[in-house]
């Protein structure tokens, strides 16, 4: 949410902030009829005010359903020390009713260890861990998160993920992928597995890499791209802005820069169940530039057809591209 550089006088962000202040003021008992009138006139100023207010008030209203469901353990103990009579009975009952109505098992609230997260083909997901670290999962990814001793541990069993780690020296953050270990030293980094091959790109901070059986170690810095394969580790350095381009999957995009069609097809195929096949050798080496939505194979097919003059056949399961 960076400040809007648009020419619009009042940006959405400011309106949201103002609406949040209104919602906040309204939740307290100090709210008066004069406040009501002031709010009403603010709302009448523009539809955008009304919508922003409804949206935030709606979300806040939804959270009342959570009452009694759970507070995070650390908060729960504090909440318990609140005198009992403070907990409005009617609210608890209302929530109990909601739980029954949805048949929502409590298990989701208890499972704190070794939770598995996964994405299907073309899916993307962002997880936020309790410590505030964020993990973005790319297409077809399986990841487990848990703890071992003091170590926050994540196993990337398959696929690709981008990590934004809240560094905490007392609780190291470790990623295990393809039997190799990546330890965060205050960082943002991307890890992609591809069979036995592992590719790590560091965007910010520092990362320590430990290969299989401790046969390779490296400390990676921003811009470093390490490719580990069997017992081999190769290291290249890429300007960080270019790295961001390579990680465009995070915003659902694929960016190509003089990329051979064979590779372009392989990338699209990670995200879509309809596969692109570039059937002849000559076509495979042609290169293209451009930005596409990960799920928009057809945009790519159109370009292959109209710009490169290739033959494109949509056969349902597959799109075959040839000369």
């Amino acid at each position: 949410m960076s400040g809007p550089n648009t020419t619009r006088p009042v940006g959405a962000q400011e309106i949201t902030d103002q609406a949040a202040d209104w919602v906040e003021r309204k939740m307290h008992s100090t709210w008066s009829t004069a406040d009501d009138a002031a709010l009403e006139s603010w709302l009448a100023e523009a539809p955008s005010h009304r919508i922003a207010f409804w949206r935030l008030e709606g979300a806040w209203g939804e959270t009342s359903r959570l009452a009694a469901l759970r507070s995070p353990p650390s908060l729960r103990s504090r909440a318990m020390s609140v005198p009992r009579n403070r907990l409005p009975v009617s609210k608890s009952l209302a929530v109990a009713a909601v739980i029954v109505a949805f048949g929502f098992a409590a298990s989701g609230y208890l499972a704190a260890r070794d939770v598995t997260y996964s994405t299907g083909i073309g899916e993307r997901k962002t997880l936020t861990l309790a410590d505030g670290s964020r993990i973005e999962l790319n297409t077809s990814t399986v990841l487990r998160a848990g703890r071992s001793g003091n170590t926050r541990k994540v196993w990337l069993d398959k696929g690709e993920a981008y990590f934004r780690v809240k560094h905490d020296a007392a609780h190291p953050f470790e990623v295990v992928a393809a039997d190799q270990r990546i330890t965060d030293l205050g960082t943002e980094f991307n890890v992609r597995t591809d069979g036995g091959r592992l590719r790590i790109a560091v965007v910010q901070g520092r990362v320590r890499f430990d290969g299989k059986n401790g046969n390779a170690h490296a400390e990676l810095l921003p811009g470093d791209v390490a490719v580990a394969e069997a017992s081999k580790l190769s290291l290249t350095r890429v300007p960080v802005p270019e790295l961001a381009t390579r990680l465009s999957w995070r915003s659902g995009k694929l960016m190509f820069h003089h990329t051979p069609l064979a590779q372009v097809a392989a990338e699209f195929n990670r995200y879509n169940s309809q596969k692109v096949i570039v059937s002849d050798e000559q076509a495979r080496t042609l290169t293209i530039n451009g930005t596409f939505a990960t799920n928009d194979v057809h945009a790519f097919a159109r370009i292959a057809q109209s710009v490169l003059g290739l033959r494109v056949e949509d056969q349902g399961q597959e799109i075959v591209i040839s000369h």
Partner: protein, 198 residues
């Protein structure tokens, strides 16, 4: 508040025969049918607009357009209408700004297929909402979450929260405002399982 406000725009009177859509109808419709699809809308905007700094403004503009159309008549399929509005907005923007990106806006035909696909049922959304609430609350920064929990779950007053957290009442208000905004962003904007609906 909004519930009492009648339709105040005079423009609506051009269509005398149409049923008037009141502010409270609109509000209910937005909460029930529109905001729950925000994840799908955001995904659409993110994927089709290069400058990610514009997204919040674009979202607002989409909502305003939807609101203005719904004042005359509430669209039957909220999700379809929302996405079509977003699509039209991006097309207008591309024209106005005279940029010709290769894949600036998804093909309308391709989009049409997706939009006609049935979305998740409302009960599924409601059920999903509860799980999202859990996640959303977990994602708040610790102090912010503490203020939200003390207010919404334990029902404490602002003064009591301030005392408990050892901060000023103004600071409590700031945490709560921030919490409200972040919760909305997460509850509505998160893609989670709804993305399959696109």
């Amino acid at each position: 508040m909004a519930d009492k406000a009648g339709p105040h725009g005079d423009g609506t009177s051009l269509r005398d025969t149409d049923p008037c859509v009141t502010e409270s109808d609109l509000r209910a419709w937005f909460l029930r049918e529109v905001f729950p699809y925000e994840g799908v809308l955001m995904q659409f905007l993110h994927q089709n607009w290069r400058n990610q700094g514009d997204i919040a403004d674009l979202r607002q503009e989409v909502y305003v357009r939807v609101y203005e159309a719904a004042q005359k008549q509430i669209p039957e399929h909220a999700k379809t209408f929302l996405l079509r509005t977003a699509h039209n907005l991006l097309v207008d923007r591309v024209r106005r700004e005279q940029i010709v990106p290769i894949a600036a806006v998804a093909d309308l035909d391709a989009l049409g297929v997706a939009m006609d696909a049935p979305g998740p049922e409302r009960s599924a959304i409601a059920k999903d909402m509860l799980r999202r609430l859990q996640t959303a609350l977990d994602r708040l920064p610790p102090r912010c979450r503490e203020a939200v929990v003390l207010k919404q779950i334990d029902g404490l007053s602002r003064g009591e929260i301030a005392e408990r957290m050892g901060i000023s009442q103004d600071a409590v208000s700031q945490y709560l405002s921030k919490g409200v905004t972040a919760l909305a962003e997460d509850l509505y904007g998160d893609l989670s399982d709804l993305r399959r609906g696109l």
